[in-house]
């Protein structure tokens, strides 16, 4: 057992500052264990979101030494032993209190993505899909909605003004997921991705992929293919001609 300094941003609605605590650290612990120890001993009203403490629910997102992380999946042994641990709330979202932010932006964006459209003529139980065809969308459905990708994406992080037009990596990935769903019957996902959800704001710097605790290859497997599909649709003269004369399906 040893002890370590934690510097935690405490405050409300963006007003506040760092408070230092010294806290015991035991073998095998994660940052969230230390936050809980502080609540139980020194700071009972320290606000933090958490639920499962097993990296499955995506609630305890915050920034550890400036990097977006899940507190429950950040092992103390991976942090420098000789420096204070700095905990701050997610920077891209409005502060509520201490480590808790208002992530309502993400729920608003979720509502803007049109839902799955069931294929006409297939009753429940009649769906047939090959494993290799569902595997691509399944990768994106591993998303635990921790919103670390939304927090780190510079199109949002450094540009508050983009929030209206840009869905962020999580919800562009949701569009890719639906677009790659073998039975989704919605017509215009690709056009929507570009024209409604701001796919063009993404310039594939892969920051989202780097912070994803589920190791989803957001950029390579969702965003780039979606961009390629949009480009195909927009610029392929045959597709264009086909859609104009109604001989080919719009997809």
């Amino acid at each position: 057992m040893s002890s370590l300094e934690f510097r935690i941003w405490r405050g409300e609605a963006g007003e506040g500052g760092f408070v230092s605590y010294r806290v015991e650290v035991n073998d095998g612990e994660v940052v969230l264990d230390l936050v809980h120890r502080l609540q139980a001993t020194q700071a009972p009203d320290l606000a933090v979101r958490w639920n499962c403490k097993a990296g499955k629910c995506g609630s305890c997102s915050a920034e550890v030494n400036g990097r977006p992380r899940l507190l429950c999946m950040t092992r103390m042994s991976t942090l420098p032993p000789d420096r204070p641990v700095v905990l701050t709330p997610l920077r891209a979202f409005p502060s509520i209190r201490d480590l808790v932010t208002d992530v309502g932006f993400n729920y608003a964006k979720a509502r803007e993505v049109p839902s799955f459209v069931p294929p006409p003529g297939l009753a429940p139980g009649e769906y047939r899909m090959a494993q290799q065809d569902v595997a691509r969308s399944q990768e994106f459905r591993k998303c635990i909605e921790c919103f670390l990708c939304q927090d780190t994406c510079h199109a949002v992080r450094d540009h508050e003004e983009n929030k209206g037009a840009f869905a962020g990596p999580r919800f562009l990935m949701r569009l890719a997921e639906l677009d790659m769903h073998p039975l989704d019957a919605a017509p215009d996902r690709k056009r929507d991705a570009q024209e409604v959800h701001g796919l063009g704001y993404c310039n594939i710097t892969k920051c989202c992929t780097e912070v994803c605790p589920e190791h989803i290859r957001i950029t390579d497997n969702a965003l780039i293919p979606l961009k390629e599909r949009v480009a195909d649709r927009k610029y392929d003269p045959l597709v264009w001609l086909g859609s104009k004369i109604g001989r080919r399906p719009k997809d």
């Binding site: 409300e12 035991n26 073998d27 095998g28 612990e29 994660v30 264990d33 609540q39 139980a40 009972p44 009203d45 320290l46 606000a47 933090v48 979101r49 958490w50 639920n51 499962c52 403490k53 097993a54 990296g55 499955k56 629910c57 995506g58 609630s59 999946m73 092992r75 509520i96 209190r97 201490d98 808790v100 208002d102 992530v103 729920y107 979720a110 509502r111 049109p114 839902s115 799955f116 069931p118 429940p124 139980g125 769906y127 047939r128 899909m129 090959a130 494993q131 569902v134 969308s137 399944q138 459905r141 591993k142 998303c143 635990i144 909605e145 639906l178 769903h181 989704d184 589920e214 190791h215």
Partner: protein, 626 residues
């Protein structure tokens, strides 16, 4: 006060399924949940959803599923609930596909199904080992789809279905002051973010709050599992049954200490993983109880053949129901054959190729690598029992999910009792919450629509609820975290996996002291997002529920499923005929015996007579024949 037709408390699988159904019936619905929308404990479910679709083995059907469920529950299940569950589960799974769920597939493109403990055939629809996440996300996205439809009609996403996220309900409101009598009239609680109080008027309330695991020290459950719905029901005058039955999942992580209790999915065993003690012995062969001996392999060779040829070999004993496996692990560790950190070895590394393990068990691979530095494709895991699920819950009518004691009150999912009897089979919780979540939403909506005049919340109840909620900011000096830790230690040590009369009496004494001390709880700071205050309020619920568990466990003088007594080690056929029912009377928990509904003749005919004789008294079977 905001008005809705139906309030659903809880946004896990049962709550969301109830909300979807109620909305589709035309009701205006409020969902109130303690966490963010989409974070509910259901995401932790790993293995799958049990439904006899027969995609992998066409021999499966609802009757076989019913039989397995009753066996798993040691015939203490409410038979009508088990019947409805087995019959309706396939439709509930197929419906999820029409909402966008993407399950793993069979070679011919149907929903794949995997083996699980206690299930005769491969029955669990799954997505790797993250099935709960898929379920929650699908339901969440269906809720959004309904909101989008409302938005098209009214211009308001939340017109017909609103999620109050990070809101906690502390009281169910009724039309009269008295706890008994009187209909449900709404709910009262606080918003975590602002600390402000809220009240919603509604004639129907669906409890879908999950379980009680946070009363125990070693648990797979998240902080939300503080028995809120169980306690709200008691306080509103409803009854709880089967509270002595707690499932200790056999395989939780045991090291490092900070993750002790986190679940290791049963799929590890379903997909071939084996349990070994420190001597390297596959000890489950030594722990097959008589009632199951005919259905389980006697040798390692036969057990290993079963994975490829299940029709001609019997199942490996690692796939016994969870209570049996948990007790066996407990016994091995107690006999000195445990691992370094007090568990046993669960090994899949010597059983499957590494890439297959990563494909089938991705989140287990991830969890052990990141939290314990263990690569499960190369070395065994260390595992031990962890408090996982409460079979007990609110007494409900099987068909409508309504409380018979409180008009307008419904319960579904883990907070409801009866479905799983003395022990739940893996995979049956996700199907339970879909089947009965839908039924609760349906009947709550119908009840609300049929009312000609609506009950109004009694003013004195609102005042009392407010006073109760601010009390921790008074003069109290007891620390909520300290009280919680003492409660967890008490339940873990004295009402845990193996129980003894003396210890349970001691537990009751300690709980009485803790309840008095909890009245003096005090918290710092103010009401805005204050976890100390939240815990102080949750303590009331955990203490009430723990008292039910301890009292019922002491009264039931037998061992059955999730209730194991060292002083009454045998199953007693007379006790099978009784549920223990808890009610709140003058501020204290009263427990009484109530007869279990009989097993209908056509359902009884699904079982072999010699098997029934192990569970039923000769008189019961004689009655049946006459």
């Amino acid at each position: 006060m905001e008005q809705y037709d139906v309030v659903v408390v809880g946004a896990g699988g049962a709550g969301l399924r109830a909300a979807i159904e109620a909305r589709e019936q035309g009701a205006r619905v409020a969902v109130v949940c303690k966490s963010l929308f989409g974070k509910a404990h259901t995401v932790m479910a790993e293995g799958g959803i049990a439904a006899s679709m027969g995609n992998v083995n066409s021999g499966d059907n609802w009757q076989v599923h019913f039989r397995d469920t009753m066996r798993g529950g040691k015939f203490l299940n409410h038979p009508r609930m088990a019947e409805l569950h087995a019959k309706e589960a396939p439709e509930r799974v197929w419906e999820l596909e029409t909402w966008g769920a993407l399950f793993d597939r069979t070679a011919d493109g149907r929903i794949s199904q995997r083996n699980f403990g206690g299930h005769e055939y491969p029955r669990l629809a799954h997505v790797g080992d993250r099935t709960g996440l898929e379920l929650i996300r699908t339901l969440q996205q269906k809720v959004v789809a309904l909101q989008q439809a409302d938005h098209r009609e009214t211009g308001d996403h939340e017109w017909g279905l609103k999620v109050f996220q990070e809101y906690t309900v502390t009281r169910i409101l009724k039309e009269h002051g008295a706890a008994d009598g009187g209909r449900v009239a709404g709910v009262f609680g606080y918003a975590r973010e602002s600390g402000e109080f809220f009240a919603i008027a509604a004639p129907a309330v669906v409890l879908a709050t999950g379980g009680i695991g946070k009363s125990f020290k070693v648990t797979s459950n998240s902080w939300e599992y503080t028995g809120d719905g169980h306690a709200l029901a008691l306080l509103a005058g409803a009854r709880l049954l089967n509270m002595e039955f707690i499932q200790f999942h056999p395989t939780g992580m045991v090291w490092p200490p900070s993750v002790k209790g986190i679940l290791v999915t049963e799929s590890v065993r379903g997909d071939g993983g084996v349990l070994r003690n420190s001597e390297g012995r596959r000890f489950m062969f030594d722990h097959v109880p008589d009632v199951f001996r005919a259905q389980y392999a006697q040798t390692e060779a036969e057990a290993d053949r079963w994975y490829t040829d299940p029709d001609h070999n019997r199942r490996p004993p690692e796939l016994l129901p969870r209570d049996e496996v948990a007790r066996a692990i407990n016994a091995e560790v107690k006999a000195g054959r445990g691992t370094e950190h007090g568990g046993v070895h669960l090994d899949v590394s010597s059983r499957l190729p590494a890439e297959e393990i990563v494909r089938r068990l991705p989140s287990m691979h991830h969890q052990f690598l990141e939290l314990a530095d263990v690569d499960i494709t190369r070395e065994p895991m260390e595992v031990g029992p962890t408090c996982h699920y409460v079979m007990g819950g609110v007494e409900v009518d099987p068909d409508t999910a309504a409380s018979p004691a409180v008009p307008g009150l419904y319960a579904a999912g883990e907070v409801a009792g009866g479905m799983h009897g003395a022990n739940r089979l893996g995979g049956n919780s996700l199907s339970d919450l879909l089947v009965f979540g839908r039924r609760a939403g349906l009947h709550a909506a119908r009840y609300a629509a049929a009312l000609t005049e609506r009950p109004q919340p009694a003013a004195e109840q609102l005042d009392a609820a407010r006073a109760e909620a601010v009390a921790p900011f008074g003069e109290g000096t007891e620390h909520p975290y300290a009280l919680h830790q003492e409660l967890q230690q008490t339940m873990n040590d004295l009402v845990g996996i193996i129980r003894r009369a003396g210890e349970m009496k001691q537990a009751q004494d300690r709980l009485a002291v803790l309840r008095r001390r909890a009245e003096q709880v005090g918290v710092e700071g103010h009401r805005q997002f204050n976890p100390g205050w939240h815990l102080a309020l949750d303590l009331r619920n955990m203490l009430l529920v723990s008292e039910c568990v301890a009292k019922a466990a002491l009264l039931r003088r037998e061992s059955r499923g999730g209730h194991t007594r060292e002083d009454w080690p045998a199953m007693d056929r007379d006790w099978r005929r009784s549920n223990l029912v808890c009610a709140l009377v003058d501020g204290g928990i009263e427990v009484r015996r109530q007869p279990l509904p009989p097993l209908r003749a056509d359902l009884m005919a699904l079982f072999d007579r010699t098997e029934l004789a192990k569970y039923f008294t000769p008189e019961e079977l004689a009655d049946e024949q006459s």
